[in-house]
């Protein structure tokens, strides 16, 4: 009997060892190409002779907070993680300046807005996909047809749904026809273009867009080519030698998902990565103190706000009550203590810098005396009780607690309802939330700051007007702006609209948030973009 027991143990142990060695085999896998294993140590090798061209290995490691799920830009454009890779592998028809949002041409040589519902695009000639095929209007048509196909479940479907027809004139020109005048569509021309033949090659009956394959193996016309994705470990891109704007100076860009903010900071400090995609606000000060790290801040082009229901009966249906609340908003304190300085006070929706920003909105500065006066005028000298809804998130909850404290000083007794993700959105969907904290991010066209939040037709479930702001005069202005081609005229209309929404105080604007990014001082000519992420790596290099 004893022999059998030994035998069993031996079998069990060998099974365990087998598992273990199978596991051990993995990291020893030979790298795809030898230079991938290059470590930071080599950077410390003394330079042989000073030359104009940088001599060190031009490989940039980027520590990102999350791993993308779908790399095909038609399906994965909804997340920052996927955009990180897509904006390097692909090109879009247009792009824009990160701060002013002025349009710049990329794959498009020219965009003619014939009228606000007809957009003619002339394509740059001689642009090659990474498989050597030339980009033509067929690829553009194919990309946009996927995006607007309701069955495809593409990212940002609502942006492309207004397209009724794509008219291809020849290989290099085509026209988008929209169902209605829609000026924000100009910004929708940013969709990354994929290759038609490549996608169709991998399409199957079950997967008509081929995205099962292209999500793992994207192919575009961009400055970097996709090489390999080792899930959980790294995504490797290499320079596109035939890039139409010239070969990038960097040889490789490698994304490493490092979800923990502290670990990411340490990896940047020890030189294991060259860019830390996002520094936790708490760690900004410590990181800035490290001379091996350069910290930059980028405006997120959005705002954090508190919505106040205007149509849920007393007392918040009175504009004076809402303005009183706006006067109690301690913006600077919130930015200093909750955001650790990563923000700018917001008085209206559109951030400073944006071409449509209106600086002269009514400013509801922090003013308890004025707030008390307004409350008394409205007939609530002793305040009232109110419900505030917030999603479960430490920053947002802290923010609400500060608001609660402030409002308590003028007698408004706020009950904070902290709800977990799904429950919060279910509550928002009811359209019966007296006060709620939400925010908007990476918004482009001024209409995107207006329509979904404030237009009468955008009340749930059609949009995000969860405060039920309904003002026909305002609606008329933004409807007109939607149909106006000329930017200066649009700017005037949106200035008017901004003043109105601020005055009516259905939203109290708190701050325009910023994102802190850390990078190695050796990395030159790189600037992070809120919309195009690491795109400027196409011009960057590592200095010796």
């Amino acid at each position: 009997m004893r022999v059998t027991k030994w035998m069993w143990l031996a079998i069990l142990m060998s099974l365990f060892l087998l598992f273990f060695t199978v596991g051990c085999g993995a990291p020893a896998d030979p790298p795809v190409e030898p230079d991938e294993e290059v470590d930071e140590e080599e950077e410390e090798e003394p330079d042989e002779e000073p030359v104009a061209e940088p001599t060190r290995d031009q490989i940039v490691y980027i520590g990102v907070s999350s791993e993308p799920h779908r790399l095909d830009p038609r399906f994965g454009a909804g997340t920052v993680a996927a955009r990180n890779v897509q904006t390097l592998v692909h090109d879009s028809l247009i792009s824009w300046d990160d701060e002013t949002l002025e349009i710049e041409y990329v794959l498009a040589e020219e965009v003619n807005v014939i009228d606000p519902q007809t957009y003619e695009v002339k394509l740059r000639e001689g642009v090659l996909f990474h498989n050597g095929e030339e980009l033509t209007t067929a690829d553009v048509e194919y990309t946009y047809n996927t995006l607007r196909d309701p069955d495809a479940a593409a990212s940002n479907f609502s942006h492309y749904a207004p397209i009724v027809e794509i008219e291809v004139h020849d290989d290099y020109s085509l026209t988008f026809h929209l169902e209605a005048p829609n000026m924000p569509f100009l910004y929708r021309l940013r969709a990354d273009i994929v290759s038609k033949s490549y996608s169709e090659e991998h399409a199957t009956d079950d997967n008509p867009y081929g995205d099962d394959y292209t999500n793992m193996n994207p192919l575009g016309t961009g400055p970097f080519k996709f090489v390999e994705w080792r899930t959980g470990e790294e995504i490797i891109l290499e320079a596109n030698d035939d890039y139409w704007q010239g070969r990038p100076k960097l040889d490789r860009v490698i994304f490493r998902p490092i979800p923990d903010a502290t670990t990411r900071t340490v990896e940047l400090q020890t030189g294991e990565i060259h860019i830390n995609e996002e520094i936790d606000p708490v760690q900004v000060a410590i990181t800035e103190a490290d001379e091996n790290v350069v910290v930059s801040r980028r405006s997120q082009m959005g705002f954090q706000s508190m919505g106040i229901h205007v149509n849920l009966g007393e007392p918040t249906d009175d504009v004076r009550v809402r303005q009183a609340i706006a006067h109690m908003m301690p913006r600077e304190d919130i930015i200093d203590y909750v955001m650790h300085g990563l923000g700018e006070p917001a008085y209206g929706p559109i951030p400073p810098g944006h071409w449509a920003h209106e600086p002269n909105v009514p400013r509801f500065e922090y003013d308890p005396a004025r707030a008390q006066e307004l409350l008394a005028d409205a007939g609530y000298p002793d305040g009232f009780e109110a419900e505030l809804y917030v999603i479960e998130d430490s920053v947002r909850v802290q923010l609400c607690e500060i608001i609660q404290e402030e409002l308590a000083t003028i007698g408004i007794d706020v009950n904070i309802n902290v709800l977990e993700g799904g429950a919060f959105w279910d509550q928002m969907r009811t359209g019966e939330s007296q006060m709620f904290q939400t925010g908007w991010n990476a918004v482009t066209d001024p209409d995107d700051f207006m329509w979904r939040q404030f237009h009468s037709n955008s009340v749930p479930p059609h949009g995000a007007n969860r405060q039920f702001y309904q003002n026909p005069e305002f609606d008329a202005i933004i409807e007109e702006a939607l149909q106006t081609t000329e930017q200066s005229k649009r700017k005037e209309l949106y200035s008017e609209a901004q003043k109105m929404v601020v005055e009516d105080a259905s939203y109290v604007f708190i701050y325009h948030h910023q994102r802190a990014l850390g990078q190695s001082p050796d990395l030159r000519d790189f600037e992070y973009s809120i919309y195009f992420n690491f795109r400027s790596l196409m011009d960057a290099y590592l200095a010796d």
Binding site: M1, R2, T4, W6, W8, L9, L12, F16, F19, F20, V22, G23, C24, G25, A26, P27, A28, E37, S66, E67, H69, R70, G78, A153, S155, F157, S158, D211, D212, N215, R230, T231, G232, E233, E234, R256, P257, I258, P259, D260, T263, V266, E267, T270, E272, L419, E420, G421, G422, W425, D426, R429, W440, N441, V443, D448, R452, P461, H462, G463
Partner: protein, 306 residues
């Protein structure tokens, strides 16, 4: 013995079935809407409903479960909601990394805990004993993500001896394995010590000593051997817990294993991904228990399985 093992393996089937039903319902009971998380941030409720419908999330829960279950029977573990591709290949690709990490952490905890536990029992109330008792108390009380962070700050940032994250060689395993093994080490150490102390007072140990056996033989052959059953039970349990611990630890060390996949699945309410992960974890947990039971028979000849 073979029949016993076979029976135990067959018992896995109802256990896994029950776990799968329970977990499937739990995932749906957790508030959170996978469609909302998949949608762009400015999506309207209408768009979110459309996404939910595309994913088949509008169907009644039992229908979704049966659909998933029939798929699993045919080797199709479903498509991840967030990744949009089959979950099984991803799970299998990450499995070795996690087994390796869990395995190394168990080797670390057992390797440290048993010798220290024995020492501390044989030299009860000595300096070593006090150190090990304080150490195990600390090991148990410190949350492991915090231990991980402290190790990173010390060994990766200040001393620069070891890498902080990733998996590009053996050195990358050391910090996560130690972190993962700390609390297990503490538990095993305590159990070894207390069981040893219990056994050491037994009559047969006194007999062994009085018949002139060397202290070494007394400790290792008569005491430790008899204390081992309890220790092995704890090791088995700890191995199971290690698998759960990887969910937190892999995140801290950006280690590409199953744990991170499980975490991401949970964050996205990605039912097929969560189910796949938990089925793997549950199977491994059961197999470890089976292995422990079989090892009992080897360690203690009095235990037999018919």
């Amino acid at each position: 013995m073979f029949n016993y093992a076979l029976k135990r393996v067959l018992q896995l089937i109802p256990v896994l079935l029950l776990i799968s039903i329970l977990v499937f319902s739990l995932v749906y009971a957790i508030p959170g809407d996978p469609a909302r998380m998949l949608a762009p941030p400015d999506a309207s409720d209408e768009e979110i409903d459309r996404i939910a419908e595309n994913l088949g999330l509008h169907r009644p829960l039992p229908v979704q479960y049966v659909d998933w279950f029939l798929g699993v029977l045919q080797g199709d573990w479903g498509r991840s909601i967030s990744w949009g591709r089959p979950v099984l290949p991803d799970l299998l690709r990450r499995l070795p990394a996690t087994l390796q990490l869990a395995g190394l952490s168990v080797i670390f905890s057992v390797g440290v805990a048993i010798p220290v536990g024995v020492l501390s029992a044989t030299r009860q109330n000595s300096f070593i004993d006090s150190i090990s008792r304080v150490g195990s108390l600390l090991g148990l009380s410190m949350p492991n993500f915090w231990v991980g962070m402290m190790l990173i700050l010390l060994f990766a940032l200040h001393l620069r001896w070891l890498p902080a994250s990733g998996r590009r060689g053996f050195t990358y395993l050391i910090l996560p394995a130690i972190t993962l093994g700390t609390s297990g080490m503490a538990t095993i150490m305590r159990v070894t010590r207390s069981t040893m102390l219990e056994v050491i007072r037994q009559d047969y140990v006194r007999t062994a000593r009085s018949k002139g056996l060397s202290e070494r033989v007394v400790i290792y052959k008569h005491t430790l051997r008899n204390a081992l059953i309890a220790v092995i039970t704890v090791i088995g349990l700890q191995m199971g817990f290690r698998l759960g611990g990887t969910v937190v630890i892999e995140r801290v060390f950006a280690y590409p294993g199953l744990g991170q996949l499980a975490y991401q699945g949970m964050m996205h309410r990605d039912t097929p991904m969560i189910m796949g992960n938990l089925m793997l974890f549950a199977t491994m947990f059961c197999l470890i228990n089976l292995a422990v039971d079989l090892i009992y028979a080897f360690v203690d000849p009095r235990i037999r399985y018919g």
